[in-house]
């Protein structure tokens, strides 16, 4: 009995090693043909990119990065979190470049000397999603502020990110002085979670929610929600690239950050970004800013 057990254990161990081996082989195999066409691998080949969940979870970075990596020989390590954490990671010296969407925080990041220059390069619109029958009558509102007023007046449920992410900050800006008090207004649900979790919660509660369009479209099939307001002047969502300042933080891959930013702002990336989403959702998810 013991022998059988030992044999099974040995087999499991051998199999798991084999599986791990296969896993590590895979990227090498796909990377190999790319390297033949690429420039020589740079000395410091790893670029640490700290970014928000919306650009990573929407699939934009996984779509762009293989082309960049093949062209330059760099390897981009993406850390995605809410904008607040994405910026903090860079302040702590754990990133070479950031890609975020919260103008005020970005400007503060630069004013404090952590960032070199804010380079806004693309935008999309936040959308308001809600129950399919739109009980608060949000549809047709002039802008998000008007829509929020209707939600507030009808005390319809509203799920807020509540996590100081770029989306949460945009939401607070739209509320302005009329921001609800989560402690007193029980229709206002401050979830303190990521976009996906909040959308799932809004769907469960049949609540309204402010979301980036990309995340909503990528989850649409699982949600019992519709877009009730798609465009408004106060719903523009601008993304920027900022290289971390080597004079403030040591041990950075400044050459890598520069190469990444140059490529992202160049024609090849622009062409790719402009058509991202068309194949999957029928609409482009991001629009480039005029240079």
């Amino acid at each position: 009995m013991k022998k059988v057990f030992a044999l099974i254990l040995a087999a499991i161990v051998a199999l798991s090693f084999a599986a791990c081996g296969a896993k590590t082989d895979e990227p090498a195999a796909t990377a190999a043909p790319a390297e033949t066409t690429a420039a020589a691998t740079p000395e410091n080949a790893v670029i640490r990119l700290s970014t928000t969940t919306s650009v990573n979870d929407s699939g934009l970075l996984p779509y762009l990065l293989p082309t960049f990596e093949a062209a330059t020989g760099y390897k981009v390590e993406v850390q995605s979190a809410g904008t607040g954490a994405a910026i903090q990671k860079a302040k702590d010296g754990n990133a070479d470049v950031i890609l975020v969407h919260a103008k005020a925080s970005e400007e503060e990041f630069i004013a404090d000397g952590y960032g070199v220059e804010r380079l806004p390069f693309m935008y999309n619109y936040f959308v308001i999603v809600g129950p399919k029958d739109d009980p608060a009558g949000v549809s047709g509102s002039a802008d998000a502020a008007a829509a929020f007023a209707k939600i507030r007046d009808s005390k319809s449920k509203f799920v807020s990110r509540g996590d100081e992410s770029g989306t949460h900050k945009a939401e607070l800006k739209i509320w302005g002085d009329n921001a609800p008090d989560a402690a007193a207004d029980d229709w206002y649900v401050s979830a303190g979670q990521g976009m996906g979790a909040c959308l799932t919660m809004a769907s469960e509660m049949q609540a309204y929610c402010l979301t980036d369009k990309a995340t909503f479209l990528s989850m649409k099939d699982e949600l019992n929600l519709d877009i009730v307001l798609a465009e408004g002047d106060d719903m523009k969502n601008t993304y920027s690239l900022i290289a971390v300042n080597p004079e403030k933080i040591d041990g950075l891959n400044t050459d890598g950050a520069k190469a990444f930013i140059d490529w992202m702002l160049g024609d090849e990336a622009s062409a790719l970004i402009a058509k991202y989403g068309e194949a999957e959702y029928g609409v482009a998810l991001f629009t480039l800013l005029d240079k």
Binding site: E164, A191, G192
Partner: protein
């Protein structure tokens, strides 16, 4: 260091929201621990004192469930209580009650597994004595529980520790809603996601202090011998 200062300041200031979060945390952990122990201790005692067909299989099953990942338990309960799920009409999703349900699923196997092992180890002589005294089966089980008191206290405290430290299940079924289902661990996750690492650490220190206080209180109640 900054975190210790912040933890201290937070406790001193008796921040209304922090107190509310601590309240929810204690309420949830109390009910999770109590229900898990009410279910788990008698079962653990039965398994520990009896021998029956399939016992070794049952023990393996329980030991597997002791390692049940919290996210899996959370997911399982979520699917049951989602709006269109079998218990969706109860409207329990995103409440403290459903967090307790998820934790009971998570913790009961731990209570059964640990208590049956402890009782198995200490029960033999007790059972022999009980048989000698001609006690009933129920009384024998009771005697086993009282003889292994301090071992069982550590079972209960392990259950409590699992409950208070757990984040995966409660964030899925509770939703980390401010003023409602936010507990210490999900608050720490949130502050970490905000990038407020030192504040998050301060909350972690407070959580440890709460855990310590509960442990001290429990051993005081059970009158564990001092280690001299």
């Amino acid at each position: 260091m900054e975190s210790f200062q912040q933890a201290f300041d937070l406790l001193i200031s008796l921040d209304k929201e922090l107190l509310q979060i601590i309240g929810v945390t204690l309420r949830m952990s109390f009910f999770s621990t109590t229900i898990s122990c009410l279910l788990g201790l008698p079962l653990g005692a039965l398994i520990g004192t009896r021998s029956f067909r399939g016992k070794s299989f049952l023990k393996k099953l329980i030991h597997t469930l002791m390692g049940l990942p919290p996210v899996v338990a959370g997911l399982f309960v979520y699917v049951l209580f989602t709006h269109y799920g079998p218990f969706g009409s109860l409207n329990l999703l995103f409440t403290v009650k459903v967090m307790v349900i998820a934790q009971v699923i998570l913790i009961t196997p731990i209570v059964i597994g640990l208590s049956s092992s402890f009782i198995e180890g200490t029960s033999k002589p007790v059972i022999d004595t009980a048989r000698g005294l001609g006690l009933s089966k129920a009384k024998t089980v009771g005697l086993c529980l009282s003889e292994g008191r301090s071992s069982l206290l550590s079972v209960v405290l392990s259950a409590f520790g699992r409950s208070i430290a757990e984040v995966g299940a409660v964030s899925i079924v509770g939703g980390n809603i401010q003023w409602k289902t936010r507990v210490m661990t999900t608050a720490i996750m949130l502050e970490t996601n905000k990038g407020k690492f030192s504040f998050a650490l301060a909350l972690g220190i407070i959580l440890l202090l709460i855990g310590f206080a509960v442990n001290a209180l429990a051993s005081f109640i059970v009158k564990e011998p001092a280690d001299d």
